[in-house]
């Protein structure tokens, strides 16, 4: 029980990552695969951000006390947060590229279901050899 309680953030991060991986493998619709890729990457963001927390830590910003002087208490590690900002941008860009390609596939093949596209390609290959 304590293994789950003390490491709950890692359990949830892995759970979300596995849901995303399941979606990529099992779903036939290309948009669902792209969304599942986004879910997978969201699990990774959760993993990084949760590793930044320290006991008794607060946000890494300057505070002002009554005299107007700047001070900062024990703050959480801001480095993983910065890394994940970049990773979120990367995730959005990958999703945008994937959507653009899927729109083009819809124009070219008329469908975005992976099995139908594979059938169409196999027919085209068989037709060109005949």
């Amino acid at each position: 029980m304590s293994l789950f309680a003390t490491h709950a953030n890692y359990w949830f991060a892995i759970l979300i990552m596995m849901i995303g991986l399941y979606g990529i493998i099992a779903k036939r619709n290309l948009i669902k695969q792209a969304i599942a890729l986004g879910i997978f990457q969201t699990g990774i963001f959760l993993f990084y951000v949760s590793m930044a927390v320290i006991n008794g830590g607060t946000v890494p910003v300057w505070f002002l006390d009554e005299a107007g002087k700047k001070y900062a208490g024990p703050y959480d590690n801001p480095l993983p947060h910065c890394l994940m900002l970049t990773a979120i941008v990367v995730s959005v860009s990958v999703f945008a590229v994937a959507i653009a390609i899927i729109v083009n596939i819809k124009h070219a093949y008329g469908t975005i279901e992976e099995d139908e596209i594979l059938n169409l390609e196999a027919e085209a290959a068989a037709g060109s050899e005949a």
């Binding site: 990552m17 991986l21 990529i24 290309l30 695969q33 792209a34 890729l37 997978f40 990457q41 990774i44 993993f47 990084y48 590793m51 480095l79 993983p80 890394l83 970049t86 990773a87 990367v90 860009s93 990958v94 590229v97 994937a98 653009a100 390609i101 899927i102 083009n104 596939i105 070219a108 093949y109 596209i117 390609e121 085209a124 060109s128 050899e129």
Partner: protein, 528 residues
């Protein structure tokens, strides 16, 4: 300005790629891209001489100290891959003028060349950076631009779109695995700098029993295998190389997976160290011992054999070359996994040799597609009479794939086989020679159709390919022959890189004299 060279390698194509979006038309973006790639090649050659004379070159971004900021470091292993990427980028840009003009609509050329230059930014940046997260970011930059470049082949071949979406999904999962591995390493070591990370991992008591380090290694291993197209996770490669525009195929076949193998060398040899990776990290289940070396060798050998058989069954020229690429990557990984001097030298020199051979072959295939409009083997009948120079390029490149003496392929196979015998692994040597046999079979299929089959009466009347495309093809294919005959410079550079890989980790830890990568190449004997 001259000591800003490491960052100029990345900043010049970055600025040029962004500015390329303002240029309209067909010729102007190409001229801009060609000037940029020539400048990058010049910077790379300058850095080569600096590394040969002074040892490693470091550069601190933003003038931050190395532990807190991002630094770039170019040592013997880096400079080899930087030269490959810069040279291939320059030659394929020259080739791209005519090839892309026929494959991509005119109003998209500025976007195409912008993506082209940004792909070079990503590839060069991965190779020179010393910061682990910077590797991930630039990996994604190069991957995203290459996904887009592959998808732009849709005008000629609809399969480019499905190839691109498959590449997106599989490549992103691989890169995300690398990100998870980096996250675990950050937790354990608290730093993102490659050298500090190596010191921190080595300072742990018994790192092979530390579950975080082992899990980080596992995630990184799988992610890097996807990116370098090691056998079971290579499924994105055949369609992506086969359906992409010809110049894009030539560029990515010669650079993207080589940079992936460089990343694997960096992580396995410099961050984790050869002792941890190949000696300590092994588990015994019953009678079987799983070690990193064993897994790499098994995957690579199976890759050579299985993709060799698949290449023999393909009906289209670029697909034969694509499956052959996976086999050749298997050779390079075998060289890595043998962990002795000869094997590592063979693997590293094969990076350059395969880049030249495969780049040249994909360019020749592009010449065929340019004139014939088709790459199916039946349509290549009698090509030796219709397009003699292109057919000769395919023949010479094919000889390089087989490993015929006097070609560059022979040099790398020689070192790989001697490395296999030195490690006492004669089955691996048998696999290497069987791979050459398979290469002989699928090259013979193409050569037989081109040289010994008469063209049909209703064959399309074609001239030879345009001169610029032919010259670029023969620069690469001829280069592979020249490097097969005058192999000493490249082999010496590869030996220095192999030496650096095997001893670099100990140098970082201070167990050997000299800071990492600082030995200049001027002495002749190689320290084992």
């Amino acid at each position: 300005m001259i000591d800003q060279a490491p960052v100029l390698l990345v900043v010049v194509p970055l600025l040029a790629g962004i500015c390329c979006l303002f240029l309209r038309g067909q010729l102007l973006p190409w001229i801009w891209a060609q000037i940029t790639t020539l400048a990058v090649l010049g910077i790379a050659i300058h850095l080569l001489f600096r590394v040969l004379n002074e040892g490693a070159v470091t550069y601190a971004m933003g003038n931050w100290p190395q532990e807190w900021g991002i630094s770039y470091k170019i040592d013997a292993i880096n400079i080899f891959v930087v030269l490959i990427v810069a040279f291939i980028g320059c030659v394929t840009t020259c080739y791209a003028r005519q090839s892309i003009a026929s494959e991509i609509p005119r109003d998209r050329h500025h976007q195409f060349y912008s993506m082209w230059l940004l792909a070079l930014v990503g590839l060069l940046g991965i190779t020179v950076t010393n910061d682990v997260f910077n590797i991930y970011v630039l990996l994604e930059v190069s991957s995203l631009t290459i996904y887009t470049l592959v998808a732009m082949g849709k005008t000629r071949d609809k399969r480019a779109l499905t190839a691109a979406i498959r590449y997106v999904i599989i490549g992103s999962v691989g890169a995300s695995f690398i990100l998870v591995g980096i996250g675990y390493l950050l937790m354990v070591t608290g730093t993102l700098n490659l050298e500090d990370m190596a010191r921190a991992i080595a300072a742990l008591p018994e790192p092979e029993r530390n579950r975080t380090v082992v899990v980080a290694f596992a995630f990184l291993f799988v992610g890097l295998s996807v990116k370098m197209a090691l056998w079971p996770v290579h499924m994105w490669l055949p369609n992506a190389y086969g359906a992409a525009p010809s110049a894009v195929s030539a560029l990515i076949a010669a650079t993207a997976t080589k940079v992936g193998i460089y990343m694997a060398v960096r992580f396995l040899f410099t961050v984790f160290g050869p002792d941890f990776t190949f000696l300590s990290l092994s588990t015994t289940v019953g009678q079987f011992t799983f070690s990193c070396s064993g897994i790499l060798l098994t995957c690579a050998c199976l890759g050579v054999l299985v993709t060799g058989i698949q290449a023999m069954q393909q009906r289209e020229l670029k697909w034969i070359l694509a499956y052959s690429s996976v086999g050749q990557i298997g050779y390079m990984v075998i060289g890595l996994a043998l962990v002795n001097h000869a094997g590592l030298t063979g693997g590293i020199v094969h990076l350059l040799n395969h880049a030249l051979i495969k780049g040249g072959l994909f360019m020749a295939a592009g010449c065929v597609v340019f004139r014939l409009g088709s790459q199916r083997l039946e349509d290549l009948a009698g090509l030796s009479k219709r397009m003699p120079i292109t057919a000769a390029a395919i023949l010479v490149g094919g000889l390089g794939l087989i490993g015929f003496p006097l070609t560059a392929g022979f040099i790398s196979k020689w070192y790989l086989v001697s490395g296999a015998f030195e490690a006492g692994l004669w089955p691996v040597a048998a696999v290497l020679l069987t791979g050459s046999l398979f290469a002989l079979i699928y090259v013979w299929r193409v050569v037989e159709v081109m040289y010994f089959t008469a063209p049909p009466e209703n064959a399309v009347k074609v001239r030879e390919a345009p001169l610029s495309m032919l010259i670029c093809t023969w620069i690469l294919v001829g280069g592979s022959v020249v490097l097969g005959v005058f192999a000493q410079p490249t082999v010496a550079l590869a030996e220095h890189a192999a030496n650096q890989a095997l001893t670099g980790h100990a140098q970082i830890l201070g167990l050997r004299p000299g800071a990492s990568g600082d030995d200049p190449v001027v002495h002749d004997e190689v320290v084992p």
